[in-house]
């Protein structure tokens, strides 16, 4: 293995590890988050989850549009 290939392998390993750690952290944070989050930038009008939404924006939208 030449030097260039060796350095590339180290770089690839480092990036992969960083991506794995980052993804793991984000997934862990998502799964352990007790708070409900909005994945639609609080645009309730088009959201399919609005009926079950417990966020203040969602509740407000349901009230205004009398959605049960």
């Amino acid at each position: 293995m030449d030097r260039r290939r060796f350095l590339h392998q180290i770089g690839r390993g480092t990036i992969l590890s960083a991506l794995a750690i980052f993804s793991g952290t984000m997934i862990y944070r998502n799964l352990n988050s007790e708070r409900e989050t909005c994945d639609f930038d609080f645009v309730c009008r088009n959201c399919k989850k609005v009926k079950t939404c417990a966020l203040p924006d969602g509740i407000d939208f349901k009230k205004k549009n009398s959605i049960q």
Binding site: G11, F22, M26, D39, V43, K48, K49
Partner: protein, 433 residues
Amino acid sequence: MSEILKYISRTWNIKKLVAILSMFILFLTSGFPLFAQQQRFPKPEFESGYTQPVTSMPEARSDFFAIFDVLVLIVALSLISWLILKKRSRRGVLAVSVFSILYFGFFREGCICSVGSLQNVTLALFQPEYSIPISALAFFVIPLVYTLFFGRTFCAGVCPLGAIQDVLLLRPVTMKRWLQKVLGLIPYIYLGLSVLYAATATDFIICRYDPFVGIYRFDATFFMFAIGAIFLLLSIYVARPYCRFFCPYGVLLNWMSRFSKHHLTITPNKCIQCRLCEDSCPLGAINKPVPVKVMEDRQSATKRFISLSLIIPLLMVLGGWTLSNFHENLAKVNPKVRLANELMSFKPDVMLPSVEIEAFKSAGTPLTELYSQAAIIIEQFYIGAWILGAFLGLVFGLTLSSLSVFKYREDYTPDKGECVSCARCLKYCPVEK
């Protein structure tokens, strides 16, 4: 009439006709005439102060379909990587491109896309209260991982933004190297700005100014429609103008691709230096061989590279200082800062309140709270502007330094960073496996 037809047939060739015809079809299909008609008459003025919303988003997907999209992405990436690296098929790449345009483009209306997911990831990194959707995270990470192993196969035909430009490239024009280098700096600026605005929870500028999303959704402002049409027209002659000179996600893919394990090769076997592929790449991403007699003495080249590299810290400080002076201007994009500015200059006796001011007053939030929030955001922009300026200084410095480096090469090889693995060069190689 027959004379005219004869004249046309004498002076025009098929390629010209195809180009003109494609431009005509493009205009027809992009909904331009319909949109232009809509804009002919002024919109009605409602007394309620209602303004027509300019942005639209596709409907949110249920969890099952969000996972389904991720699966489609994985399948498309695996298939295109196999088609490029094993089958070496340009037709296969085209087929996947058409699928991506139809599925990720028109059916999914360009959302969610990996390019935009960069902002979700940034927001999740800097704002702990924001939980990134798993599908957005997957759309960000998976193409990067594939690029680390197989090169930019995502750009080749899975990205709907790249695919639509690629299929329209009919008459590629070769661009000057220096122009490519200069324009190639724009994505770094765009990347820096999009990260800054996402990190401060100000705006998702990549999505807001995506030129193709309006075409995919058949719904955008006239301005964005026009920008999209310009990019598509430009794509007929200039290979992938958005990917090369704007795409911020392309910057990350470029970095990843440099470390790729199995990248596309022009020749399946030993290069015979026939030079047939030399001008085959419309992106100019083929490295030509550097003969030994041209090669510079290693020691002097290293010395020059080091001396040039010494100016990098200087450029970083200069860039950081310059942009930090404009942090207040950059922060004005933030809605809270903008509202605070509006309220500061608002004179109730001579001015009518805007909708935003009325909404703020009706919410009953104390003015001091808004001002303190705006001050915090401006402070964040000050730090962010320093980092962004330093980053841009680093990029400029490294670009300058890289111009002085000549790597010795024996064969024609794709530039691993710039090559989008479109597989156009493959058919030029006469070498069989």
